[in-house]
């Protein structure tokens, strides 16, 4: 057992309102520089949609992630030693700037500085790369505005497995739905970017598993851009180095949540440390598609297990980190309650950003007893007798899951590598807790039914309350359990600090070298 600590994240998609505050927070801190204008280390996509860069999930185009060989080993789909050498002068699978979008601003100055003329001055869009006026072709969240058009929502790669009828059903008027998918670097356990880098510039930090690119070592091969199936490694055309989400490690080390999480309006983001067995990585990444999710979850170990604690300590993991792992909200969502799932586990990078899937739009309860409402409905609209169900489309308790507006097959293509059963399990849990809480707070649900749904999904009442608390009431320190970084220990490993002792505390004031 080789126990290591990993900072992991959980995004609760039911809570995301798609405000892009996270993206802006990240942009303002990290990617507001020349050469990275087009990069959105954090971006929010509308699903169904093609995302950013366009169709990033389609690995026939971008060749990201790992593929499983016949013999049960895995190899990078579009990078690695042989393939990298073959494409050493030109990597054909890189996204172009048009696949992201050409960053632009507006010539606002013209509004106040234009010479007098017959026409109102306008602020024309100007490319942030060339400085020339451009026609805006696309933006980083184009799906927001154009979802539903045949070009975007209907081209969602996750719909590949759906029949034409199922697809059409998703876009039926009055049944049309969407949800938001915020994305950052997954800080994977088996990162494609690290494996692909010919310069060895990318590494996974030992203490917390954050994946970083050493800017001094990067030689602009851009293999990581191809190898990352989530397209979360970007090339800075100005410095000639690749960059990616650093999970705001300077903030983490100081005990603050990353900027995107800190600023999240919907409070959908959770961050905590998890302990995993690094010996299992290779084996886990190579299991067949159907076992991927469970294999990945089984790598994550119980931080209360004395054996695990002992092995963790033997591996140099600090007590404070183990304690943080025990309080980790991500461990609860992912393991204890089994509600969160990795995004596209079939890419086999073992992402450590998990998503609580969306329960999808809740409809007002329309019943036959509600005469006024009923009169407004189409005569063919379905009616039923039960007056507590959310969804109006079925009378069966779990039927709504199978007949959700988004087919399970679609959700499973995103979160469970096609395993609809695993997907349904998570959605049922979400529903069960909602029904349970409705009984508690509104009271229009039968107590027996509330208890039955919990029992059906193997949740105790206490657990349901915990889920409810962490979902709806959690405070800052509940959502972000950041282990102390112990930089002082790292510092002591690198240099002798004993000479500071006895030599500080008194002296003359001197102007700092940087000037005052």
């Amino acid at each position: 057992m080789d126990i290591r600590a990993q900072i992991s994240m959980v995004f609760h998609l039911d809570k995301c309102i798609g405000c892009h505050t996270c993206s802006i927070a990240c942009k303002n801190i990290w990617t507001d520089r020349k050469g990275v204008e087009y990069q959105w280390w954090n971006n929010v996509e509308t699903k169904p949609g093609t995302g950013y860069p366009s169709k990033w999930e389609n690995q026939d185009i971008y060749k990201g992630g790992w593929e499983r060989n016949q013999d049960g080993t895995i190899q990078l789909r579009g990078a690695g030693k042989g393939k990298g050498l073959g494409n050493i002068f030109h990597n054909p699978y890189l996204p172009t700037i048009e696949d992201y979008y050409e960053p632009f601003t507006y010539n606002y100055l013209n509004l106040i500085e234009a010479p007098p003329g017959d026409d109102q001055p306008t602020a024309r869009p100007v490319s942030m790369i060339t400085g020339e006026p451009i026609d805006v072709k696309m933006g980083p969240n184009w799906d927001d505005d154009l979802s539903g058009t045949p070009d975007y929502a209907r081209n969602d790669p996750n719909m590949a497995g759906l029949s034409p009828a199922e697809r059409q059903a998703m876009f039926e008027l009055e049944r049309l739905a969407f949800f938001y998918l915020p994305r950052i670097c997954n800080h994977c356990l088996n990162p494609g970017c690290v494996a692909s880098c010919p310069s060895g510039a990318i590494y996974k930090r030992g203490e917390d598993g954050i994946v970083l690119i050493n800017q001094k070592v990067c030689r602009a091969w851009r293999m990581c851009v191809t190898a990352c199936p989530y397209k979360k490694s970007y090339y800075n055309w100005h410095t000639g180095k690749s960059e990616k989400c650093i999970l705001c490690y300077p903030r983490l080390e100081a005990g603050y949540a990353p900027a995107c999480m800190h600023s999240c309006v919907g409070r959908i983001r959770y961050l905590g440390v998890m302990l995993y067995d690094a010996d299992q990585i290779e084996k886990t990444a190579a299991v067949p598609d159907s076992e991927l999710v469970n294999a990945q979850l089984s790598m994550i170990l119980d931080p209360f297990d004395p054996e695990v604690i002992q092995a963790a300590k033997a591996n140099g993991i600090a007590d404070s980190t183990i304690k943080a792992a025990q309080n980790s909200p991500t461990y609860k969502f992912v393991k204890t309650w089994g509600m969160a799932l990795p995004l596209h586990p079939e890419f086999r990078t073992l992402p450590m950003l998990f998503y609580v899937p969306p329960l999808l739009p809740v409809m007002a309860s329309v019943t036959e007893t509600d005469g006024a409402q009923k009169a407004k409905l189409n005569p063919i609209a379905k009616t039923w007798t039960d007056n507590w169900l959310y969804d109006t489309s079925t009378e069966e308790l779990w039927g709504t899951v199978e007949q959700a507006r988004f087919p399970l097959k679609y959700m499973a293509a995103m979160f469970t590598a096609g395993d609809e059963k695993a997907m349904a399990e998570r959605i049922k849990k979400l529903m069960a807790i909602r029904i349970y809480r409705r009984w508690k707070t509104v009271g229009d649900v039968d107590e027996a039914k509330a208890r039955k749904v919990l029992a059906d999904v193997n949740l105790t009442e206490l657990q349901a309350e915990d889920v409810y608390y962490l979902t709806s009431l959690a405070k800052f320190n509940d959502r972000f359990v950041i282990p102390p970084a112990h930089r002082e220990q790292a510092h002591e490993m690198l240099e002798f600090v004993g000479d500071r002792r006895g030599s500080t505390g008194f002296g003359f004031r001197e102007t700092p070298a940087r000037g005052m």
């Binding site: 093609t50 860069p53 366009s54 169709k55 185009i61 073959g86 002068f89 030109h90 054909p92 699978y93 890189l94 996204p95 172009t96 048009e98 696949d99 006026p133 026609d135 072709k137 696309m138 070009d151």
Partner: protein, 285 residues
């Protein structure tokens, strides 16, 4: 009014003629005439020393009018082109036109005064070192070849000869075609002429190129030795002329490379993912 101007003009003219006459007669002007002659003319012309690369200039002031000389020296080729019989005859006799000289009328007059004064007798090229009597030493030839190609730098960093000149010689790589080809220059001009031209280039472009970067006597000697060797061995040289083969070979190689690149990068992403969408979008230009 008219009268006044004429009067003034006459006065000025008289004064200038008088002044120039005084100047011509003065020793300073004669010295400058000698200097200029040695620097600019001596490489090709002698005064009473017989025909070198160009004609002997003894008595030239008696053979030609001053006006003719003034015009000719500045642009001999133009003179021949304009149909001047004497200039044509000179061109025919020596086979190549004298290079245009960047000198003023006063300079020429000073030179003429120097020539008229006997020019100190002797041959031209007073600055030229003594001609090597024996065949040049192998060391000099080798050094000359290196200097010619720029493999060894001139002491004062003058440009290498082959940036402008070519010689037919298997031992050295081809040179430029900006200036005269120098294979037989030694045969034509002999040691004094060659070394004089190298030491003090009379050609405006070459003069400008080596201004302040004069070659040392040792370098001149080495280059002359090299050129003598080149001229002597001319008949035995068989430089390879690839002719059109070079062009054809180059085109063939280009095609091979183009095919290779086409093969290696056949999966190149030609269009953005959303190309069809972009095509439909309204464009302002």
């Amino acid at each position: 009014m008219n009268k006044t101007i004429t009067l003034w003009t006459r006065l000025l003219l008289t004064a200038s003629v008088l002044l120039s006459a005084i100047g011509m007669a003065s020793p300073a002007a004669a010295a400058s005439g000698e200097e200029t002659f040695k620097k600019k003319c001596g490489a090709c012309h002698s005064i009473g020393g017989g025909k070198l690369t160009g004609p002997d200039l003894k008595g030239v002031t008696e053979r030609r009018t001053e006006a003719w000389i003034l015009q000719f020296v500045k642009s001999p080729q133009k003179m021949a082109d304009s149909g001047d019989a004497a200039a044509k005859a000179l061109l025919a006799e020596f086979g190549f036109p004298m290079p245009d000289q960047d000198v003023t009328d006063a300079d020429i007059k000073a030179i003429l005064a120097y020539i008229a004064g006997g020019g100190g007798g002797g041959g031209g090229g007073a600055a030229a070192p003594a001609a090597p009597a024996a065949p040049p030493s192998a060391a000099d030839i080798e050094l000359g070849a290196k200097l010619f190609q720029g493999l060894v730098r001139f002491e004062k960093s003058g440009p290498a000869c082959n940036s402008c000149h070519h010689v037919k010689n298997d031992a050295v790589i081809g040179g430029g075609v900006l200036a005269r080809e120098l294979t037989t220059v030694f045969t034509r001009m002999g040691a004094p002429g060659t070394s004089a031209i190298i030491g003090q280039p009379p050609f405006p472009v070459m003069e400008a190129a080596y201004k302040g970067r004069d070659l040392s006597p040792a370098e001149v000697k080495a280059l002359v030795a090299f050129l003598q060797d080149v001229a002597a061995k001319e008949a035995m040289q068989t430089p390879v002329d690839y002719g059109n083969n070079l062009l054809i070979g180059g085109t063939g190689l280009f095609l091979v490379l183009a095919c290779l690149y086409g093969l290696i990068w056949r999966r190149r992403k030609q269009l953005p993912v959303n190309h069809a969408v972009f095509e439909r979008q309204v464009k302002s230009q």
